[in-house]
């Protein structure tokens, strides 16, 4: 009940926000909402299915360029182009999922990183993408009676997409597949032995994350009306990982909190652009050293403590407390790698 009420409150605040904030903050929040589906997708992949990807920027780029090129060169309807951009990301995700998902943990992280970087280089080098010069004049979506060039309208559109992504993700997490994700995260061997079709479940999670990154990319392209290869570098993929980790990967809300927190922080440090990078780095270190649960995980642990709930055998220190429930990271614990 309380939970439903607070979710309602969050949505209500999100809905009326553009009526009260200035243009600057509106742009910031819109940007956060555009990225959010990508972060939600990685949160599911990472937190639920225990699979890492350092290459989400690649899928983001695929969504952005496919949608932009279809509208610019073929004159497609923007909505349809965005949908196809998303589908393209899913298809490519599916193609690489087969070979790549045989890998785990670190190898998987580096393989996906390689994929993301390959997309980046292609985008940089191919003629059709315009490389660093980029593509400009990408049209905004249109609908009868709604002008999406009006920033507020685009904000609501981004909000709708983000909410949709969140709802689908949370349903997925609660579905049969979600439970399979969990089983998988616990023990792949055990899951296999009770009949979970491990490859299929993994592929599903991977394609889901790819698709959401594609959607985010398409939204990005049509919001800015300009894209160039510089946007889609390794830093983008790492930024998504940081958002997931800082927000907290064991809870879908972590994706929401993480995205907004990072964007807000970036804005506050706007005049010291370099320092914002410094803060990302420090955050990443601090989260893994002291608060593995990220913002949401730590908040939950603190909340539990305040309510006097004694989580059995909970570790010392607030940070450790947060780490306890999520001790199993996306990699199996191991001594030295053998």
């Amino acid at each position: 009940m309380l939970r439903k009420a607070s979710v309602g409150l969050v949505v209500a605040v999100a809905l009326v926000a553009p009526l009260v904030v200035d243009l600057f903050w509106l742009n910031l929040l819109t940007l956060a909402l555009i990225y959010m589906p990508m972060v939600i997708g990685l949160n599911v992949l990472f937190g639920k299915a225990n699979l890492v990807s350092f290459g989400q920027g690649g899928f983001f780029a695929i969504g952005a360029y496919v949608s932009a090129l279809l509208t610019l060169q073929r004159g497609w309807n923007v909505w349809l182009a965005m949908l196809v951009g998303c589908v393209a990301a899913v298809v490519i995700g599916y193609v690489i999922a087969r070979p790549v998902l045989r890998l785990k943990g670190l190898s998987l992280a580096m393989a996906t990183l390689a994929f993301g970087q390959m997309v980046f280089i292609l985008v940089q080098q191919l003629d059709v993408t315009g490389g660093p010069v980029g593509l400009s004049g990408i049209p905004a979506p249109s609908a009868p009676g709604i002008d999406f060039l009006e920033p507020r309208n685009f904000y609501w559109l981004a909000l709708a997409v983000a909410v949709l992504a969140f709802v689908i993700a949370s349903n997925l997490a609660r579905s049969r597949y979600g439970r399979m994700f969990h089983a998988l995260a616990d023990s792949e061997v055990a899951s296999r032995s009770v009949g979970v079709r491990v490859d299929r479940v993994k592929t599903l999670a991977f394609c889901f994350a790819a698709g959401l990154a594609g959607v985010a990319g398409a939204m990005y392209a049509h919001y800015f009306s300009f894209i160039s290869s510089d946007t889609f570098n390794l830093e983008l993929s790492l930024l998504v990982v940081i958002m997931v980790v800082v927000g907290g990967m064991k809870d879908l809300w972590g994706a929401v909190v993480g995205t907004i927190a990072i964007f807000v922080m970036r804005e506050y440090l706007r005049s010291y652009q370099e320092y914002s990078e410094l803060v990302y780095g420090l955050l990443l270190i601090l989260v893994f050293m002291f608060a593995r649960g990220g913002i949401t995980g730590t908040a939950k642990a603190v909340f539990r403590r305040l309510r006097g709930g004694t989580d059995s055998g909970g570790g010392p220190g607030a940070g450790d407390g947060a780490a306890a429930p999520v001790a199993a990271g996306p990699l199996p614990k191991q001594e030295v790698g053998r």
Binding site: S107, M110, L234, L238, G281, M289
Partner: protein
């Protein structure tokens, strides 16, 4: 044919640098389970420090040595502040901490030295050297020569010294190492510093050939990791073989196909090797987890 020789020479030069970085990866991973994503940043740090020291008027040789030692010391401080404090973190957590370290280092370098590219003068003047119909700048000889000297030295270090033995032991069995009285946390610290020092050495060596810029670190991390995987992760011989092979793959790809796609060949190599040949060329244990 001349072209092929030219590509080979260029490939071996770049490959030597990759081999040094990959050796650093291997060392650190073997002795402490840390895959140090900041390895490439130490390449840049070595280059930047060498330039800075050289500009204070130090002779080039001293500046180079100072840069390598300085980078190792900075790596030591970084390790003491971060990784030393979380000895029980899992491999993924450790990797993420080093990603954080990479981002912090890179930003600090940007703040200290700005975004312009820097370079060093060549270690020795002179005409390009002709080898079998190809040409190479004298600096390339320095690069290959230093790598050639460093590797046997490392071998001796690991098989003949007490600390080298301790590192080998820790990489073979961490619990076993503790049981014989090896302070594995110190071994981890030392391995991290040595790895960073090797990377910095790479940076000092290429500073006269290419340029040093804060933005290039991540790329070197990826290249070094690729070299290590290509050769066989965890194997020092593999690191060298992988490094040289990667250099050749890149230069031949760039030469015969397209310069613009040079990095694509390296990445494709990484992806393909991870999937079809996870044990690498030398065939050490596969990279687990």
């Amino acid at each position: 044919m001349d072209q092929a020789i030219q590509f080979t020479l260029a490939g071996l030069t770049t490959g030597s640098i990759y081999a040094l970085i990959a050796l650093g990866f291997t060392l650190t991973y073997n002795s402490s389970g840390v895959v140090n994503f900041a390895q490439g940043e130490f390449v840049m740090l070595g280059g930047f420090l060498a330039v800075a020291l050289y500009l204070t008027g130090l002779p080039l040789g001293l500046a180079a040595v100072g840069a390598v030692i300085g980078s190792a010391l900075i790596a030591g401080i970084v390790h003491l502040l971060t990784l030393s404090r979380v000895p029980k973190l899992d491999t993924f957590g450790l990797l993420m901490v080093t990603v954080g370290i990479a981002i912090v280092l890179r930003t600090l370098m940007l703040l200290v030295w700005g975004s312009e590219e820097r370079s060093l003068p060549a270690f020795t003047d002179g005409e390009s050297i002709h080898v079998l119909g190809g040409t190479m700048p004298p600096q390339a000889l320095w690069v290959i020569g230093t790598a050639l000297v460093a590797m046997p030295l490392l071998y001796v270090f690991f098989t003949r010294t007490r600390i080298g033995d301790a590192m080998m032991a820790a990489s073979d069995n961490r619990t076993g190492a503790k049981i014989v009285g090896i302070r594995t946390n110190r071994v981890a610290l030392f391995a991290f510093m040595l790895g960073a020092g090797l990377a910095a050495l790479g940076g000092v060596l290429i500073a006269p050939i290419t340029t040093i810029s804060f933005a290039l670190g991540l790329e070197f991390s990826v290249k070094g990791f690729t070299a290590a995987v290509l050769g066989g992760f965890g194997s020092p011989v593999g690191a060298v073989v992988g490094g040289l092979s990667l250099g050749l793959i890149e230069k031949f790809g760039a030469g015969y196909i397209s310069t613009g796609y040079q990095d694509l060949f390296a990445l494709a190599t990484l992806l393909v090797i991870l999937i079809i040949l996870p044990r690498g060329i030398v065939g050490s244990r596969a990279l687990e987890a």
